[in-house]
Chain length 204, copies 4
DNA sequence: CATGAATGAGTATTCATTCAT
DNA sequence: AATGAATGAATACTCATTCAT
């Protein structure tokens, strides 16, 4: 128990250290230009140890991308308690942006997109879990608001995408084309106006 | 003059041939995986000739991307003649999609995103001329429709992004993560619903 | 004594288990491509335990090769009892082939040859004990047959090599160049004709 | 013509230089331990140039092995003119040995055998062209001697292997297990005795 | 002015062996 | 005494770019 437990703890610490280093490297350099040796160096392990944990560069990249999904919860609670639909959706939008910018997900998305022609599966996986799933969280919020009579009933699968699209066009897309892109000063207005347009049609 | 003219014509033909080959290669393989030797082979010139025309891979890529802007016009005419705002905007949306999918611009956008960390300028240029400019064309259409009293007056800089965003979320973004992505069967409904949401707020 | 005896027995069991696994691995993959980690896995011990028993890959290989000599006996008995020289020598040839093919010695010989440039001693040892010694067994048989007046007296050191060579050329050498080589259908004829040629000169 | 011819000459010189370096390296180190970088260094070219000429290490090895076949002619002429069968066959045997030892073919054969478990085709090719074909040359000599009534008619496919086998057992095989093996002092006696045994049965 | 052969730096991955527990 | 995680050196192959003809 002592030995096994010790080993497990060390192993998990190394694994985490590798994933942190890999995430940083992939965000900085993209998939192709990230170097396994550099990741190993940053993680303070040998390349062989790195390969014990992750059988290939692709596998390591997938693990890093996967790990970023788990942190992506938008939180449904506000939809339950918020006084108005607009309050609930504003919170969700801000939560989304904090996550995306706070964790460097823009850079990771660029890396995924870059690798898509060479390895389409990683792109499709990311889209399914990183994009679709988050849109489905928006849909769940909308459904809850409809249940609470704060919104009209309607096809929320479709409209969750409308809402997400209005926001992303100005707040996410530009970051794909500029590594130094920062959220614009009128971010709050953009969110507010998007919600107004949405609610013009769907408010109860 | 005869000889000189001949030479210039040959040179320009080669230049065009190189750019065509390069565009095809960048679209197929992305920036990083595209190989200069392969581009030269496809263009039926030597690598040295290729480098005479374009001093580096980045320069060639920039030239290819630049050339693609010119094909990105949306056409303002319909906004002048269409009977309703919806008609005009539907036409614009379809025109946009035909262009994007017909010319392989999705693949080119992926390549640009891919190259962005390594060469931010090309990403910023593309965004300014390939994205912002097209959004501004939408804005021009909206302005025209307002002038014709088919829409309420409002901040069209902002709302052109809303409209574009609603459409792109379902019709463009997914293609960034999947090289085999095809326009979905309910494309027309997506366009229609986006316009309904938009017009719920901005119809005259 | 009980404890010590137990430990010795366990240790010897592990040693045997390692050698069996190593033999299989060397036969399958040759010396260079055999992996110590794989041998340890097959033997169900840790790599560290493996190295406690055998200080290096070369040492382990030598041990495996050494152990194979003991299985290489041809048996002199038939030479005593057989009615004719041809009978005795046919039996010896068949015994030789059964051993060589039954125990995978072809693959082991390939591995030894493979390791010869890197570790000449193992090659020379194998040749001395695995080849020369077996030829000397043939010589002993010939001497016995001369004693029994079934063959003419002659230099049997030299002719044992002639006889072995005629057989090996068709029945062993080809297996060095083809891991899937099987004994040919006309094996018996090859043996018979080799003996006829031999006896044309040396029959009593 | 000038340019093209110049380039062809340079290219062929480099190719030859690479093949010489590769042959030396493969003979010294065997296939697996031979390093492409070292071959390039010895040949005084870059690794990239090496790969322009030979697409892979396997391809280079095959080319080296192939090239050794072409030098393997035993010469049928002596069989036409020699006074006795023994004279003709002695010449052939000596020619064979000169070739094998003069060109370092023993080391190359070891390399082929080493690589056989990993890449069986190279082993089979070598056997077909390096061993069988030379045995067939011996067969052709025997057939010619039969035609000239210097030998009895018989199945020369089979007996050419007998003759080759008697010689190789003492003069080639030992070299597989010892990189420093030299032809023994009694080489001529071994050849002579092998021929006597052979002729005891097949002399006219 | 065009050629294409040559360059050399850069990178993922493997494996025999050691060592802290 | 046994473990198995960690090491680091070693190697085939690619590609943007240059230069002698």
């Amino acid at each position: 128990m002592g030995l096994e437990g010790y080993r497990r703890r060390v192993s998990e610490a190394k694994r985490k250290s590798i994933m942190d280093a890999a995430r940083a490297e992939f965000q900085d350099s993209g998939f192709t230009h990230a170097a396994m040796a550099e990741i190993a160096r940053k993680a303070d392990v040998s390349t062989a140890t790195l390969y014990k944990h992750f059988g290939s560069k692709e596998e390591l990249f997938s693990a890093v991308v996967d790990a970023s999904y788990s942190t992506m919860g938008l939180g449904l609670e506000d939809a339950q308690t918020a006084k108005t639909a607009k309050d609930a959706l504003t919170k969700a939008a801000e939560s989304y942006l904090n996550m995306q910018y706070g964790m460097g997900l823009n850079a990771l998305m660029r890396a995924v997109i870059s690798e898509t022609p060479g390895d389409p599966q990683v792109g499709r996986d990311f889209y399914a879990r990183g994009v679709v799933m988050r849109n489905d969280e928006v849909k769940a919020i909308l459904d809850k608001l409809i249940e609470r009579k704060l919104l009209k009933a309607h096809d929320t699968t479709l409209t969750s995408r409308q809402l997400a699209g209005m926001l992303k066009e100005s707040l996410i897309w530009p970051a794909m084309f500029d590594p130094d892109f920062k959220l614009p000063a009128n971010k709050d207005k953009i969110i507010d106006e998007a919600l107004e347009t949405f609610l013009a049609r769907y408010a109860a």
